[in-house]
Symmetry: C2
Subunit: 335 residues, 2 copies
């Protein structure tokens, strides 16, 4: 695809043309090398999209079965009622094993297909490790150029393939009453502390109250063991009780999302830049491994360089290509 087409495609994505957004995401999911090159060009063209800077990338994560899909659709509806446009990308790691989205999983999401301010895509890129991370990162950037709010929904606890902290401005961990295992992961510091905690399926007062109390305890322990976290500075993780099926708690969730978005406002570019630096390193390590990193001077040096060159206008994909060329050239000289 010549550059002029890319520029036109980018323009259409930025004006939230559904067909153009859909084509762009198809490109992202296409695993052929020539598609990767076109994705790199497209993301470069979308880098300074007006929507992106003002937008909000919300990461929704948690174990399977807690009702993330339903919550996502209810949350999207709530945002649409406030006249914000919404792009949803749902990432399904279980598809890596079972070869397809789980029965009925997407069926739990209900969206109005005629609404032009809402776009939903499920990513189920089966196959190689890192494929989902690449697709999720790229999709968020495409949707971020088109819509006010991007919701990234992903299943995962502990070390999951997609480090949602590096993709989202606000990380929301969704659990249900009795999610003792997740609390343990949080307490042990294996799981990062989210920006917002949601107890979904909080229909029964007593159970919900207890779950909230358990969570407060787990958060205290997590802070005590020095677990890393998504939050910046003085932010204190709020706990929101919701019932996605009844639609309760959604207003408060949106209020907390807005509060967090406002809280990170001044640090937003820095936070996203950290995410881009990390994505650059992840891409390069996935392609050339530890030997690639050490040949080009080590992780610290590469990180500093990524910070500099991303400031200078490179994108993670273009910078990874550049580093790759240097690595192969360096090996050619020593061999």
């Amino acid at each position: 695809m010549p550059l002029s087409d890319i520029a036109e495609d980018a323009q259409q994505v930025m004006s939230a043309n559904k067909a153009a957004v859909s084509r762009a995401l198809n490109l992202v999911e296409d695993r052929r090398a020539e598609s990767h090159a076109r994705v790199a060009e497209l993301l470069a063209a979308l880098k300074d999209a007006p929507k992106a800077a003002g937008g909000h990338r919300v990461g929704l994560t948690g174990p399977p079965g807690v009702g993330k899909s339903t919550l996502t659709s209810v949350l999207a509806r709530g945002l649409r009622l406030r006249d914000r446009t919404v792009g949803v990308v749902a990432v399904d790691p279980s598809s890596m094993r079972s070869g397809g989205s789980l029965l009925g999983d997407r069926a739990r999401m209900s969206f109005d297909p005629t609404d032009n301010g809402l776009f939903v895509r499920s990513l189920a890129t089966a196959g190689e490790v890192g494929g989902l991370a690449y697709a999720a990162n790229s999709s968020v950037r495409v949707l971020g150029a088109a819509y006010d709010t991007v919701i990234i929904e992903t299943t995962g606890v502990g070390q999951s393939e997609i480090d949602i902290v590096h993709v989202a401005d606000t990380v929301v961990l969704v659990i249900q009453p009795g999610s003792g295992d997740v609390l343990q992961f949080l307490k042990a510091g294996i799981m990062e502390i989210p920006d917002i905690l949601v107890v979904n399926k909080a229909d029964q007062d007593e159970l919900a109250r207890r779950a909230v109390a358990d969570l407060r305890g787990a958060l205290r322990t997590a802070h005590a063991v020095g677990a890393g976290g998504a939050q910046d500075g003085a932010w204190e993780t709020p706990i929101v009780a919701t019932s996605a099926t009844k639609g309760s708690g959604i207003d408060e969730l949106i209020a907390q999302l807005d509060a967090h978005r406002k809280h990170v406002e001044t640090a937003l570019l820095a936070r996203r830049r950290r995410g881009e630096v990390q994505w650059t390193l992840d891409l390069f390590i996935r392609k050339h491994g530890e030997h690639g990193v050490s040949t080009l001077g080590g992780r610290r040096l590469l990180k500093a360089r990524a910070e500099r060159e991303l400031d200078g206008g490179e994108t993670p994909l273009s910078l990874c290509e550049q580093l790759s060329r240097e690595y192969v050239a360096a090996l050619g000289q020593t061999a």
Copy 2:
């Protein structure tokens, strides 16, 4: 270290000399390149240890807080009472974030330090991704050359860094009553079906009965969605209720471990070989990434080659070194 020293060290490890085993594990945890080369030599020398072939590698996994450490020490004691020697390697991924094992975690294990038939080591190799997998794989091979039973205890659910299926002959998943999140992972097919399921903290009859019933349901669903599993052929995952603190259920757990070890007997070499092939690929990918794999002909070809060359006497570490040399040479020719 000259080769003769390696041979002597290997001999002492095989005779279960505690100081020699300890030195070998120090070497495994040492991250310098020269130590890696010595580990490769040591593992090659231990490859055909008499203990290894007849031994049993038991993987004990599950979320934090379910009592794995206590269960490990009680299980080890039960095996010692049956006159089997035991090596334990406890892997602690939380240490990657918090910079050290959690307070009191190891304290929950109680072992007799004067017992020469029992060796315990906690791995907390902080730092780079893949470091724990390397250390765990190598440690299991060292301990397997010295002791009848090796227990690998690791925390993890979903995608964890160490794929226990590739390290252990028998995978035991430990949960506690109310571990709903783990059941969901199992049902969604994100988590592999273990060889043996243990419900620990099964002190209360009613809760334990319910947990066992939930597990049976989860196993049925996991089989229905076609989740991968550790089990071979006709093995049906038994569910064992234990109370590590009271010592109940341990006899049944040992009986089930023995039954599974017997079940896999004829397929044991093939199962371990699959694990070695996977470790070889993991090592090479960690070092040279996807570019390394594609340059040497792709994953399928590398896998077939690993099967052949491991049969021919190479070890995963030596074969990875060989592949690495070929990759660098190939790049030198094309650049």
